[in-house]
């Protein structure tokens, strides 16, 4: 498909700019020579981007069982209400009394998340999950600094998301990995061996990236706390446990959640997301400012956070994403929140038992919201990548592949609660069909996809000779 630059034609435009109503004052600033942007008409813009959209695939197009990403349906009402001009036109520096609606949404969202997570305070400032992690790890660092304790080490499970170790080193901590057991849980002996007065904390995803609830989590919290260390929860997998158990009750000191996963806000091809962070009382003084507070009947921005780590971004976070998450919680209520987790876990277990007869499943246990298959034992050297690519031909978005790293050729499937049994059955049948193809016609699977706008792309060439711009 042509680029927007190739369809540009001199003299065309998609907008008309009104004449100035005020005098055209001479411009005293040094100006650029040319402005090399496309010249296209309005219909060109619409046809170009509409054509691009048809070469894309979202949750609305079909099943998207991307593990660890919770690609649930995004209710349309949330999109509609988030576009009310009463929300979208508000300036962040408007006097508080003029933006009471926005501040109330933020305040109540903070309160709802506190209740769901079992935490004492929640900041909405982080713009994404990884941004929340960074905030959380900075809080841990600041906490020990304020106590005059020199703890320079953070522990991370070997099954962790890549963002965990990256957040740790971005905060200047030394990283140590803790092994998983053959049951897919954190190895308590390895954890105990690694505990020392240098350990600031442990980052743990629970349910973990294998989709398993770590049965020792209460013990893990005790081991950490006995050592004076803190326990961080990567809440990316919170969809499995909302309304079932509160991370705060488990013993976590800090948690981030992803509004664009658990709370149904769309992922927008990679963002914007929103990654609120919840903390227990002893860490509340370290949160980024401002928080939204309620003073009598008025909502205000509270900048008086005593030992705040500082700001993580300008203004107050991804407000428009918060509006959607807020609307979602209001729509489903307490009963709905619990039903989300129950049905997400039910769906995942249903798919697990159906697929484990045909694909290798390393951890054969009741799972939470997701489970991990692998390509072990696939005939004719058909790999996880081949299976994923073949799924594209059948109109499915593939699961997360090659993650977690501790399972060779991982295929991580997360169906979530918004999918019906019929949709899952059709995916299961397709997976079984691909297994048969791998036996009878492996070349077909290895060449897949065959029906997409492009076939497999040459990543080596792209990295060796990077073309990151359309040439001038």
């Amino acid at each position: 498909m042509k680029t927007i630059f190739e369809i540009s034609s001199s003299g065309r435009t998609a907008v008309e700019i009104p004449e100035p109503e005020v005098p055209e004052e001479e411009i005293v600033l040094e100006q650029r020579d040319e402005l090399n942007l496309p010249e296209v008409s309005e219909i060109d813009v619409i046809r170009h981007y509409t054509a691009l959209s048809r070469r894309n695939f979202g949750v609305d197009n079909g099943f998207y069982p991307l593990g660890s990403c919770t690609m649930k349906y995004n209710p349309k009402i949330n999109e509609d209400v988030s576009r009310f001009s009463g929300f979208t036109t508000m300036h962040p520096y408007s006097p508080e009394k003029l933006v009471q609606g926005n501040l109330r949404i933020m305040y109540e969202l903070q309160e709802y998340l506190k209740e769901i997570l079992g935490m004492d305070a929640v900041t909405l400032q982080p713009a994404a999950g990884a941004h929340g992690e960074l905030t959380g790890v900075m809080i841990i660092k600041a906490y020990f600094e304020s106590r005059g304790e020199k703890r320079n080490k953070m522990l991370v499970a070997d099954s962790a998301h890549g963002t965990n170790p990256a957040s740790v080193s971005l905060c200047g901590f030394e990283l140590e990995e803790v092994k998983s057991t053959s049951m897919g849980e954190l190895d308590l002996d390895d954890l105990k061996n690694k505990m020392s007065k240098d350990v600031a904390g442990l980052m743990l995803t629970n349910p973990n990236t294998l989709g398993l609830f770590d049965r020792n989590v209460v013990k893990i919290a005790e081991i950490l706390h006995k050592n004076g260390s803190l326990l961080y929860c990567d809440g990316a997998n919170m969809n499995a446990n909302t309304g079932i158990a509160k991370p705060g009750d488990i013993g976590y000191d800090v948690i981030h959640v992803n509004l664009h996963k658990t709370f149904s806000t769309p992922h927008g091809c990679g963002g914007p997301g929103s990654g609120p962070v919840g903390v227990k009382k002893h860490l509340a003084d370290f949160l980024p400012a401002p928080m939204v507070a309620k003073s009598r009947e008025e909502y205000v921005l509270d900048y008086r956070i005593r030992k705040s780590i500082g700001r993580m971004k300008a203004f107050y976070g991804n407000f428009n994403v918060m509006v959607k998450a807020y609307a979602y919680i209001r729509a489903i209520g307490a009963e709905g929140i619990r039903a989300v987790a129950e049905n997400a876990v039910l769906n995942a277990n249903y798919m697990r038992v159906k697929l484990m007869k045909h694909y290798h499943l390393q951890y054969n246990r009741i799972c939470q919201h997701e489970f991990v298959l692998s390509d072990e034992g696939m005939p004719n050297h058909v790999t996880t990548l081949d299976i994923a690519k073949r799924l594209l031909d059948y109109g499915f978005h593939p699961p997360t592949i090659y993650f977690p790293l501790i399972i060779h050729g991982a295929i991580m499937i997360e169906p979530n609660e918004t999918e019906s049994k019929e949709t899952m059955d059709s995916f299961i049948d397709t997976m079984i069909g691909i297994r048969e193809e791998a036996e009878k016609n492996p070349d077909l699977v290895k060449k897949a996809p065959l029906t997409t706008p492009v076939t497999r792309l040459d990543g080596v060439q792209a990295a060796r000779n990077p073309k990151l711009c359309y040439p001038c």
Binding site: N61, L98, A127, D249, L346, L457
Partner: protein, 437 residues
């Protein structure tokens, strides 16, 4: 409403297939002691009809007035095509394009966005987006440190105060020292900068147009930075200015970061916005975030994918250039559509910003104390005795006249930052003059 399609009967069948008798059995790995015994204390759920009503009441609690506020969040005209395109659910309900065969749409759109940003900034490589301008600037602290193996940042006090705070947060976590350089006549004090810069200066950060709207002498500051082999970072907070002014890349910037909200994204009470980051070609291995590259498929057809991923957290883990994963892709898409639609006319839009704000400046200058010179883009600082009272009066007549500066700069008591974009009509401008007069 709970958006769950499976019927009670289907759920029963599924439980039977799994081999358990009730849903509770699926949670038996969770220790009894921590399982919730009572329902969460949340409001009852509601129907779509009730929800729309409730949300509409909340939106009505905000007051939509005529606003002359800028300071990092700019109200611009957004052509209708922008919202129509970003409302296509093939885009907004998709995840990060890890499967390129199924994501050519967003990959090509981002490739085009990267190209437009390179052309606007005069840089060689732009990434697919950062969270916002402030966090983009903060992440450059790490690039400066990696490149120079030095530990100190010099940051101009004319950079947006909340951006400076964000830089300090990231720098603290990285044990970097941040030194602020003061301003003179609304611009970075170059004499002071020269006296502060030293062999340990990893990077020099400025913003232009700066927080007061003033256009800095980018080239001269760049020379000072480069004399000490420090990385020169230029932040552009009001992206519309790029259509009119010399590109920072032509003035010596090693890294250009900025806030792209002005390109087709609503003010939205501060977010989501669009962090721009663009670098010189030899910084490509240090740039954080996603990069879309062009390549070919097995049939020799052109295609796009995420490339140079060896920099990123999912491959490099603790050795990654950043921990960023989600970005602001949909905001970048909005920017791409906006820039395609406005095209070369963006310069005319930028000029309207200039004319409208300079009209206010010239008129106000007749009676009020204007703090700095007229070499600003679309916002400037005016001192009004009894500002608080005047501000309240303006609000009562339906106008928010600007952003008070005292909370950011205690030395600027009674000072107001006034911004006028292309959206202001002469009638509104004159009304502002009337209430401030």
């Amino acid at each position: 409403m709970n958006f769950i399609p499976n019927t009670a009967e289907q759920r029963r069948d599924m439980l039977k297939d799994i081999g358990v008798s009730e849903i509770k059995d699926l949670f038996k790995d969770i220790p009894e002691s921590i399982r919730l015994k009572t329902p969460l204390k949340l409001p009852k759920g509601m129907s779509e009809l009730e929800l729309r009503r409730a949300m509409s009441e909340l939106a009505d609690k905000n007051k939509q007035l005529v606003s002359f506020q800028g300071a990092g969040a700019y109200s611009h005209f957004i052509p209708a095509v922008v919202n129509h395109i970003i409302s296509r659910s093939e885009f907004y309900t998709a995840y990060t394009p890890y499967q390129p065969e199924l994501s050519q749409g967003i990959l090509q759109a981002i490739f085009e966005y990267q190209t437009m940003i390179c052309r606007l900034t005069g840089m060689a490589v732009a990434n697919a987006s950062m969270y916002d301008g402030a966090s983009a600037l903060a992440e450059t602290a790490i690039i400066c440190k990696t490149r120079t193996k030095r530990n100190e940042l010099i940051i101009s006090k004319t950079i947006h105060p909340e951006y400076r705070e964000t830089v300090r947060t990231y720098a603290n976590a990285n044990s970097m020292k941040v030194v602020e350089v003061d301003f003179e006549e609304g611009k970075t004090d170059m004499k002071k900068l020269k006296s502060l810069i030293n062999e340990n200066t990893a990077g020099v950060m400025i913003q232009s147009p700066n927080f007061f709207g003033m256009v800095e002498d980018v080239k001269a500051i760049g020379n000072i930075a480069h004399e000490k082999n420090s990385v020169f970072v230029v932040c552009v907070n009001e992206a519309t200015s790029l259509a009119l002014l010399n590109p920072p890349g032509d003035l010596g910037a090693d890294i250009v970061v900025g806030e792209g909200q002005s390109f087709g994204n609503a003010v939205n009470f501060g977010g989501p916005y669009l962090g721009i980051m663009a670098v010189k070609s030899d910084f490509v291995r240090q740039i954080p975030g996603r990069l879309v590259g062009e390549t070919t498929d097995t049939e020799g057809r052109k295609g796009y994918l995420l490339t140079l991923q060896a920099r990123e957290q999912h491959i490099r883990r603790e050795k990654a250039t950043s921990n960023i994963c989600s970005n602001e892709a949909l905001c970048a898409l909005a920017a791409g559509v906006y820039l395609a639609a406005t095209g070369k006319k963006l310069r005319d839009i930028a000029k309207l910003n200039y004319y409208n704000s300079h009209y206010l400046y010239n008129e106000l200058k007749k009676h009020e104390k204007i703090l700095f010179g007229n070499d600003f883009f679309n916002e400037f600082v005016v001192k009004i005795n009894g500002l608080d009272e005047c501000f309240e009066k303006a609000v009562k007549s339906g106008i928010i006249p600007g952003v008070k500066l005292e909370r950011f700069y205690p030395e600027l008591k009674d000072c107001l930052l006034v911004c006028a974009t292309e959206t202001a009509t002469k009638k509104q401008l004159d009304k502002l003059l009337e209430v401030l007069g």
